[in-house]
């Protein structure tokens, strides 16, 4: 599998007159063609900011960023206007939690998808509508020909989410960014949409970055999972390893504190405290304040992301010091 996307040492800081937010503090990862990378983390950990950086969607005048994001070898952070517009229109597509923001309420779904197809492929009127119908079929919307004529508000939540996926895929992107696309959906609808995304990812062989705060959701869709905390990826591993043998104290804490089957009657292992304020860049490990294994060298300098075998990366001094096992 070749690399589709390469992110290296990405830093994103928002500077406003009254505050500074160090939202992303040195994030590196790759996405291969045809794989789904899950990014799991709690609220404010920098998941959305990381994702939006790939499309350079941040307000230019008050965002400071550094590092590198390359799509198929092309540097995104220094890209010119024309290339950036190609990137957004054709190479990378995004779906998010609220489909209402993807659609204009005054036009039918069909009109909006056909219009996008026409703009990106130069197809004629009739061909664009045919393609729009195929796209609705592809996302398993029943009676697609009729649905083309529906307005966004006339569709149920799950149906709108499918239509948004159709719109995103209309330009044949090589990378799909998904920011909690199923979080607002009902349980019985969420699983339908998750399975759809998984199937389409295989059918179309696109790379997917799937952001979520729900471990179960990440497990259902991901090939690899990256766990984010305070603007850093603290652990990155193939999904089986992440679930079976998480190594970073935060990943372990997150898995242990997530309630699931068979925990009834047992006391939950909560992580004390709350995530740090992002106004300052921490001098050491940003999890140190909440970590039960904390030592003096945790706060001296930020730990590096170390490989612990089999493309499993961990950012923790315990792993730095003696390669594994000790914290267990």
């Amino acid at each position: 599998m070749s690399n589709l996307l390469q992110v290296r040492d990405l830093h994103v800081t928002f500077v406003t007159p009254d505050r500074t937010v160090n939202a992303v503090n040195g994030v590196s990862f790759d996405v291969r063609r045809g794989e789904t990378l899950g990014i799991l983390g709690e609220s404010g950990s920098g998941k959305s900011v990381t994702l939006r950086s790939i499309l350079r969607l941040h307000p230019e005048h008050r965002t400071r960023w550094s590092g590198s994001i390359k799509l198929e070898g092309d540097e995104i952070l220094t890209m010119g206007r024309g290339a950036l517009s190609d990137l957004r229109g054709q190479r990378v597509a995004m779906i998010f939690q609220e489909p209402a923001t993807a659609f204009d309420p005054v036009f039918t779904i069909g009109h909006q998808i056909a219009e996008t197809v026409r703009r990106h492929t130069g197809k004629g009127e009739a061909d664009s509508w045919t393609r729009a119908r195929e796209l609705l079929e592809m996302v398993r919307i029943p009676s697609p020909a009729q649905r083309l004529k529906a307005y966004p508000h006339e569709m149920s939540g799950g149906m709108r989410q499918r239509a948004m996926i159709a719109l995103a895929l209309s330009c044949n992107p090589s990378l799909l960014l998904a920011d909690e696309p199923t979080t607002a959906l009902d349980a019985t609808v969420q699983i339908q949409v998750l399975l759809l995304i998984r199937e389409l990812q295989r059918e179309l062989d696109v790379g997917v970055i799937f952001v979520t705060h729900d471990i179960g959701v990440a497990v259902e869709v991901s090939d690899r999972i990256g766990v984010m905390y305070a603007g850093k990826i603290v652990e990155l591993a193939p999904v089986e390893q992440m679930v079976d043998a998480p190594r970073h104290p935060y990943s372990r804490g997150l898995l242990a504190s997530t309630v699931h089957d068979g925990m009834r009657g047992r006391r939950l292992e909560a992580i004390p405290g709350a995530p740090p304020d992002l106004a300052e860049v921490p001098t050491g490990c940003s999890f140190a304040l909440r970590c039960k294994f904390v030592q003096s060298n945790c706060v001296a300098r930020p730990p590096d992301l170390r490989e612990v075998g089999g493309s499993h990366l961990v950012r923790c001094v315990l792993v730095d010091a003696q390669e594994a096992g000790v914290a267990a």
Binding site: E42, S43, S156, G157, G158, M159, D186, A187, T188, V189, Q190, I191, Q192, L194, L195, H213, D214, I215, G216, V217, V219, E220, V239, E240, V243, G253, L254, S257, T258, V259, H260, D261, M263, R264, R267, L268, E269, A270, I271, P272, A274, P275
Partner: protein, 344 residues
Amino acid sequence: MESLVPVEDRGGPAQPLLLASGLRKHFPVPGGLLGRSGKVVRAVDDLSLSVAKGETLGVVGESGCGKSTVARLLIRLIKPDRGTMVLDGDPVDEPHGITVNELRRQVQMVFQDSYASLNPRLTIGETLAFAPKAHGLPAAEARARVRDLLDKVGLDPTNYAERYPHELSGGQRQRVNIARALALRPRLVILDEAVSALDKSVEAQVLNMLVDLKTELGLTYIFISHDLNVVQYLSDRVLVMYLGKIVELGSVEAIYGDPQHPYTRALLSARPSMDPRRRTKEAPIQGDPPNPIDPPSGCRFRTRCPFAEDVCARAEPPLADTGAQAVACHMRIAGSGHSKAVAT
């Protein structure tokens, strides 16, 4: 002036703490010529339940099925169109019963949105002292109660009493909301998605705290959530709702271990897998829940049910006891006419 000592148990442990029967709430749908379309949202339809002393009753179901409406009816934030309630033997809002005010003292509620629930201009201490003072507790005693409450929810009183809501994290604000719900020493606390907005690591802290408080204060909970795992963790009995109706009700072991209603089964198997080697292969049911304005005739689940037959459209299945749990499905009613039901 009402007394602020905890209310004594009256009917004994066997008498339900709360009984609700035939609760109904329909909301008019705006629209049409006179601003009313004549249609109604059947948010809660003839729902009966009982809550035993000291138990946690979990309530699950998808968005819009009526969970919050049930909660708001139970503390009379909204008036039911019909139905009655009895609190430990006392009819509510009836000549020989207790007043709605007394009900609201003994039954308290915690909402999902920790920020909107707190007055931004009051310190945490002022917020917590408000209800006890309004019920006549002298200032010094109210201050002592604030300290005690903060202590109970794990917030250091000297550090937190003077703070404002925006100076707290989401988890801390939700602790304050729980403390406020406890300020009048209630017997029943209704938690409506009370931990849903919290991050998992913080959610676990608050769940542990809820378990401790329940034992320490001898509380009874109604725990409403769309998170089936959390409901399983906390509840003794579980009530499953679909479009304003109860479809299944039973012990947590029965509901999770041997669910009978096709909807309960679908809901449970729609949970994302935590095991990458056993991912979900197929969605248990297709489509979205229908609109509660014009719910399907007969069984409201029939439009999504893989077992629906003619009888399901014709007749509404009553909630029938099957031993371990009560189920509203024609397949479980002897002689209903469903091909999978036992004949009488």
